[in-house]
């Protein structure tokens, strides 16, 4: 009995020392880079995109998980998901300035970061066309490149206006009803109602959001989906095997009776490109309207 027990405590010690070794090994590469001038930490996919569009990408020292465009951004250290940041993780990349989209957190982390004396600039998140120019100017001010930002903002504004009027011309007086499907987890349709980024981009591209009964993203019953009578299904392109095949989708009872199923109309676009509301939004509007109405 006694031997058994000491063996169990031996096992415990072995396990603890194994954990210790693993931790020691993991901590070595995590040293902060203190050389050179303090850099910028960008939090939020569209903020990062704007920094790169301003040509200031080389000032970034780190990013958050939602910052996946452009490809260069992916090479930066990732401080985690923007709403679950760890204070020491953020400080370890030695940022001189934190450019953060609205909603970064948790609040306890932000409080500690404030106390640490790092400058934090919060950029309000926008989900409409006109807000983008303002966002670009705020990022430009924070980075001390107001001139470049003004030029980019004016450019983006003009592009969006142009893309929008082209899209409206294409749509004419027969705008298509578009259903944005966020996910199909377990065959349950999670779709966009009003007041979302998806609803905004659909309107900009000359479409009509097929769902007006609720706000935000909600699961819809099969009957509600067919009653919404979408002409086109819009989804995020997840790549790989995550995407549900078109035949499978339109074979589902929810979609079978819809006009979209008759024409097999389904559009897939990259999530950050479609819904990010950053410098690429004009392009997204054009792409989407061409998918909806043909060029």
């Amino acid at each position: 009995m006694f031997a058994m027990r000491s063996r169990a405590s031996g096992a415990l010690l072995t396990a603890l020392s194994a954990a210790l070794l693993a931790v020691m090994g993991a901590m070595t590469p995590a040293q902060g880079d203190n050389a050179g001038q303090p850099g910028v930490l960008s939090i939020g996919g569209s903020v990062t995109e704007i920094v790169y569009a301003l040509g200031e990408g080389d000032r970034l020292v780190a990013r958050d998980t939602t910052s996946t465009f452009p490809v260069e951004a992916r090479a930066l250290p990732d401080v985690g998901y923007m709403r679950a940041l760890s204070p020491e993780g953020v400080l370890s990349v030695s940022p001189g300035l934190i450019l953060s989209e609205d909603g970064a957190g948790p609040p306890e982390t932000m409080e500690v970061l404030n106390a640490s004396g790092v400058e934090i600039v919060t950029i309000p998140s926008v989900e409409t066309g006109p807000g983008i120019a303002d966002k670009i100017r705020r990022v430009g001010d924070a980075l001390d490149v107001a001139d470049k930002a003004d030029a980019l903002a004016a450019n983006v504004e003009a592009e969006i206006a142009a893309a929008r009027s082209r899209a409206e011309d294409l749509a004419g007086d027969a705008p298509k009803r578009v259903l944005f499907v966020l996910s199909m987890q377990g065959g349950r349709v999670m779709a966009s109602g009003t007041g979302t980024a998806a609803a905004s981009i659909i309107e900009l591209a000359g479409g009509v959001n097929a769902v007006t009964e609720f706000e935000g993203y909600k699961p819809m019953t099969d009957e509600a989906v067919s009653r919404a009578e979408p002409d086109v299904i819009l989804m995020m392109d997840r790549g790989g095997d995550h995407a549900i095949a078109n035949e499978v989708l339109f074979g589902m009872p929810a979609f079978q009776p819809t006009p979209a199923a008759e024409t097999g109309a389904i559009v897939r676009m990259d999530g950050l490109f479609l819904l990010g509301f950053g410098p690429r939004t004009a392009k997204a509007v054009t792409d989407l309207s061409q998918h909806l109405y043909g060029s």
Partner: protein
């Protein structure tokens, strides 16, 4: 259980001394382990701030850099203390409940703590924005912890009220009513989840996986005294839990105030785990693994077991937190994942090695 009942039936003095000595020795070893864990937790982190150079600066009277000050005193020290408190609270609560219910699977979830705290947290996350401004002003960022504590406390008290009839608490009723209450709170939480938007769902998922990243001094100052008080209360339960292991009637004949012990046990568990869950979110497995490891190593005597559980629980959670913050630095893993990934295989391995002896 054959070997264990043999020892219980005929406890030779030599063996009894052996086990007590081992358990007492474990006090010292575990205290040492805990101390080492605390130092490691202060020294290891994603940033380059070094504990040793900071100590050297302090010893030689030089001012600390702002980074050192913030990282050591506002980030690592509160995290370490919170890990110690939460780990001890969860491990001791598990020990007490397993003794009280005479059930090796009992953990704080069984008395409705997790379900109640979860419902409170979901409610605060989803409905927080629609509360009157005055309440939000006062609660601030502590709305979720406050609601989680209120939820867990209320559900334990409700369960306790249901199970207590004419001044006697039925442990079996409490167990079954706990299942019903968990189902009910689960359904209410489901309604709130349905109403939640994307961001709230994401917040909720992270809350459920637990984290010590939100450790602040104000959390320690509010949760700390409550947890310490509960642990102190639990420390007096050793003899009663030993008696209860032989059945309530036997315990009563041994002169143990069974009902008083039950009251104390439930109150201590509700306070300790309620406060722990409120400040750190859902951290599983510590409450199950720690008492079992210790019982396997040092025997079932609850006196030393409760103290050892507090020490080992604290050390284990501190290590889990150190791992959580360095494995994918500068990002951070939720600590609930780490405790399960580190704890489950070790636990399983020990169980498999002792398959022949155990009959759980």
């Amino acid at each position: 259980m054959s070997a264990a009942s043999e020892t219980q039936a005929a406890p030779t003095p030599a063996r009894a001394r052996d086990r007590r000595a081992l358990a007492r020795q474990a006090h010292a070893w575990l205290a040492l382990l805990l101390l080492g864990s605390c130092i490691a937790s202060l020294a290891i982190g994603a940033s380059g701030a070094s504990l040793w150079s900071a100590l050297w600066h302090m010893a030689s009277g030089e001012p600390l850099s702002q980074l050192e000050r913030v990282v050591l005193f506002d980030i690592r020290l509160p995290r370490t203390l919170l890990g110690l408190l939460v780990g001890a609270a969860l491990a001791v609560s598990g020990t007490v409940l397993q003794g009280l219910f005479r059930n090796p699977l009992a953990d704080p979830g069984i008395v409705g703590v997790s379900a109640g705290a979860g419902l409170g947290a979901i409610g605060a996350i989803v409905l927080g924005a629609s509360l009157p401004a005055a309440i939000r002003e006062v609660a601030g960022m502590y709305l979720v912890p406050i609601a989680a504590f209120a939820g867990s406390w209320l559900s334990v008290m409700l369960l306790y009220g249901v199970a207590t009839h004419r001044g006697r608490t039925s442990v079996a009723t409490m167990l079954l009513a706990g299942l019903a209450l968990t189902a009910l709170t689960g359904a209410l939480a489901g309604i709130l989840v349905y109403a939640a938007d994307d961001q709230q769902l994401r917040d909720l998922t992270f809350w459920q996986m637990g984290s010590l990243a939100g450790a602040t001094w104000s959390k320690i100052l509010t949760a700390g005294p409550l947890i310490l008080l509960a642990l102190l209360g639990a420390a007096f339960l050793g003899r009663a839990l030993n008696g209860l292991a032989m059945g309530e009637a036997t315990a009563m004949h041994l002169g143990i105030h069974v009902q008083r012990a039950k009251n104390l046990a439930v109150l201590a568990v509700a306070a300790a785990t309620g406060a722990a869950v409120a400040v750190s979110g859902g951290i599983g497995f510590v409450g199950i693994v720690v008492p079992h490891l210790l019982r396997l190593a040092t025997g079932p005597d609850h006196g030393p077991l409760l103290i050892n559980a507090a020490l080992l629980g604290g050390a284990l959670l501190i290590w889990a937190d150190v791992a959580a913050r360095v494995i994918i630095a500068p990002a951070e893993l939720p600590i609930g994942i780490v405790t399960a990934v580190l704890g489950a295989p070790v636990f399983l391995w020990i169980l498999l090695r002792r398959r022949g002896v155990l009959d759980l």
